[in-house]
């Protein structure tokens, strides 16, 4: 069967996990080969911000959901504006879509 071709001959999740474990082991060995005298301090842990003082941990630094991908949605605003606008939340509109879809499918089934 073709699904066996895809799933068994080409897709082996257990093999992938095994490879992951081997890679993990290699990473661990490299980690163990690191400098044993290293000691973690506050300054070693903080990101380098071009010499500016790190503001530390603050809620203000957390990028919230509506800020992520703002560039993506802004660049595609011509697509998103009518799309979001169509979701009016009015049940009458929901019913219009239902009737329109029935009409379209009926025409397609009759004439195509």
């Amino acid at each position: 069967m073709i699904n066996q071709l895809v799933l068994v001959r080409e897709w082996h999740p257990l093999v992938l996990i095994l490879i992951g474990l081997i890679v993990g082991l290699v990473v661990y060995v490299i980690y163990r080969l690191g400098n044993p005298s290293f000691k973690e301090t506050r300054y070693k842990r903080e990101p380098f911000l071009s010499g500016n003082v790190s503001p530390g941990e603050s809620k203000a630094l957390h990028i919230g959901g509506s800020n992520l991908y703002w560039g993506f949605t802004r660049a595609l605003k011509k697509y998103f504006k009518p799309l979001v606008g169509a979701h009016t939340g009015i049940v009458n509109d929901y019913l219009y879509w239902f009737i329109i879809t029935i009409a379209i499918v009926m025409v397609v089934l009759y004439f195509v």
Binding site: N3, V6, P13, H62, F98, I102
Partner: protein, 509 residues
Amino acid sequence: MNIDIVQHSPALILAVPLLFAFLTPIVARISEKGRDAIFFLGLFIMAFFVSVMAYEVYTVGGWSYVFGGGTVTPNGTGSSFFRILFVADGISAMASITLTISAIGAAIYSYKFMEHDTGLNKFNTLFLLMIAGVNGMVLTGDLFNLFVWFEVASVSSAALIAFKNYEGEAVEAALKYMILSVVAGLFFLLSIGFLYGQYGVLNFQLLAENITGTNLDKIALTILVVVLALKAGAVPLHFIIPDAYSMAPGSVTAVLVVASQAGLWVLFRVVFTLYGLAVNTFTLGWIVIVLGILSMFIGVTMALVQKTVKRLMAYHAISQTGYMLLGVGVGLAVLGQPEMDIYGRLAMEGGIFHIINHAMYKGLLFMTAGVIIYETGKRKLDELGGLGHSMKWTMVFFMIGALAIAGIPPFNGFASKLMIYKSVYSFNPLLSIIAMVVSILTLASFVKVFHSIFMGPKDESVSKTTEAPKPMLLGMAILAGVVILFSLFPGLVVSTIVEPAVEALGVIV
């Protein structure tokens, strides 16, 4: 005795939740703990009968069950011509298994999730009625009973969506859900009338033998396809899904996903088993494919701009429904073309495998969203953050669900999507590319959710939150366990439960 249980299991799968649905409020008058015990007992007895039926279907084969015994005769002379029929086959077995796993996970989760709410007698009754309604939809062998179970599922679902009626939006969502369901149900009844008026029969088997593709048949088919696509939440009939999924209690949403999928199962029965080659399957297949592509793309792009966690997940549910429609639509479009038959079958297997995968990981994701709302009282992504510090198990469950829905190997979402990509590519490469792009956008969207909710500094609001209570963790762990199991052994799942479901679409046993 065992033989009787096996034979009667399709009826018992429905009778048990119906009986216990009305038993729970009676027992609740004596003891609340007794009520909960009865509720779980009903679910586990139903699970037992689902297992019995599924085992018989997978080891011996399917059968038709007629209430009161007897057989169905094509010319209407049989004693059981108008009796209630159920079909135990690969489709009903797989759908019932999916529903049972989700329902048990959701019920355990509800035990703690709903404890602060009043009216739990009604909750248990409605929950069991919804399960009976969905099981009835997938088990029934005739159109009129399908309509009845469709209504049972819709009414109980609407009541459950409105269960937290102190949140005004929940009532509004339920009202919309009910209006759409009633209108769709009436259209559904109209289409049944068209078919009954012509052929004088209602059961699938006899209708399939008689349907010739008349104009009335096409009108009935159009209505059935659109009504069932609405139930499944396909674009452009999806509008009620974000409203309903986002406002229903977390545990209910996990089962609502499966209730919507019942629309897909029935749709597949209608287009393959009922109509089959009596209509232009290429055109019909493309109609399903277009609905699938619209659902995938519009669902995922709408999810990207959402600001509340459950509404975002609801749009992803619409998007994932698109994959199922795409896979089965391709299977339908190539029906009767021997050179493409093998790809069509693989596409259908991918689409149907995706249904059970989606029920598990989407149910899990809705439960994690429920935990977040339960612990913080917040739904907006902007108001959340840093919860990974205090809700580590919830975060792990969320990651399992998110990686699975995004189709990241080795999770089960990848296995079913791979089957869809490969087979659909042979049919039309562009469709496959769109499906892959949608998968990337899904990943992007869940990265946003993960970052918004679980990443960030540990501030005062975070330190007040705690990990989810144990019953809720157990409910999530059940679904996460199934996701992992399906991820590790996709070939076994396909050969055991997906292939019989695809075969069942050919003919009713």
